[in-house]
Amino acid sequence: MLWQKSWLETRWRFLIGAILLSCSAAVTVFTYPTVKELLSLVQGNATGALGRQIRESAELARTFPGYIWSESFAGNQRQWITLFAILLGTASFLSTSGGASFTLSLPVSRRRLLAVRTSTGLAELFILAMFPALLIPLLAPAIGESHGVASALIHGFCLFIVATIFYNLGFLLSTIFSDPWRPVLIAIGVAVALGFLDRVLRFTPLSLFDVMSAERYFRHGAVPWAGLLVSVAIAAGLYSVAVANLVRRDF
């Protein structure tokens, strides 16, 4: 029954996420023919940093998997899954408006309550990462292209694993702040800051977003196991701090 409650309380965030991520994946696939036409217009002689970037994207977009990777796994899907990981993680679990004292009056330990909630959330996040990724190989034949199922799954999996960090970050923040907004805003702030370090400052000793998009897998076929393991460890660390917070807390 706790599972049902968890599902009832998060289903809207999950369903909206599922629709958005699926639509985003589908739109990306179906705009490829247009992009291919535009490619012929790209000038090969653009100079400077901007020119180099344009050439790089054009290069990637010459193949369908390259296009999908840059637009989806390293683009839209990566941003959306980060956002929904935060939204699912901060779904108020023991807020007073959500019947916290009723929940706490049940003969169930807080650890079990939190384990059920987190399992539900992570299962939802897994689907949010994998389903849209799978849509790509499924839809590709409709525009006369193809994409490997295995590689789509691996990209989806990498998205999921790193997103669990943001899920647990949101969860941890929701145990610190009692209002529903600060945890979301702070977690998004952290995600944006990490992205800024990554992209603009090129500060990438451990780039979460590179692990997320699995660039090494895309370019060299090497799954970023080390990065995934580190991500799992970070997520687990955030989770245990959050649980310790909630177990100690007075309601």
Binding site: K5, L8, F102, L104, P107, S109, D250, F251
Partner: protein, 299 residues
Amino acid sequence: MAEALVIEATALRKTYDGVDALRNLDLAVPAGSIYALVGRNGAGKTTLIKILMGMARATSGNVRVFGQNPGSSDEGIEIRRRIGFVSDEKDLYASMSVEELIRFTASFFPRWRNDLALEYSRRFALPPSLKIKALSRGMRTKLALLLALCRGADLLILDEPTSGLDPVMADDVLQALVAHVAAEELTVFFSSNQIAEVEQIADRIAIIDGGRAIVSGSVDELRERYCRIQLIFEDAAPPATLRSAGVERITRSGRVMTVLSSQGSATVLDEVRDLRPLSVEVSPVNLKEIFLQSVTVED
């Protein structure tokens, strides 16, 4: 029920950010009683209840419910298996329907009483398919009470069960509660700042103020012990102080002197005889007066 005391607290202290919510609170709730916890807002009633439910932990002191420690995770679960609870906020899951929440709650309590759930649903006229967020406060309170009563609990802990209800609804709730207690053998521990309802249904009471239980015991005993002695004198009432034990307050107004005693009238009467009053009248004191006399008034 095997335990003589269902709830037992000694020297209980709870501090929030350096401020005492409870200090040196002692409490003993015997099995089978309807025990009222009375106090002003902020006296510490909800804090005490949260400690009993394992929602908050005591800073120091000792607390036992069914002989177990509610602050321990495992024992807390054992305790909560036997408690029906209605919280201060009457907060329930907004997104569930009445029916869903009843089924949800039932799944946690092996002794759940389906027969009573049906009976109370009818009695309270709760529409099963309505979402909880659409319920009025009165309806929500009734549902919260249903969810507490049907657990097959040995102890009901109710935090201000009638607060925010109109008198008709409040009476409905009390009546259901009394009927339930009459039919099932259990202990009720409830907080309230409605003295009238406490006088009506409680047989034991603790008045808490500033985080301590300042008066506690059987309601009948308190009513028998507390009395008001009115003395009328020939001239202005003498400014004498009385030394008898139990003299709580002396007020004078012209020829009339009123003594409030918490230890019966006998010793006071012996003492005032020397003051030669024209007439002496002893009258009972109700709980409201005992309450007002006991709590500190800061404003």
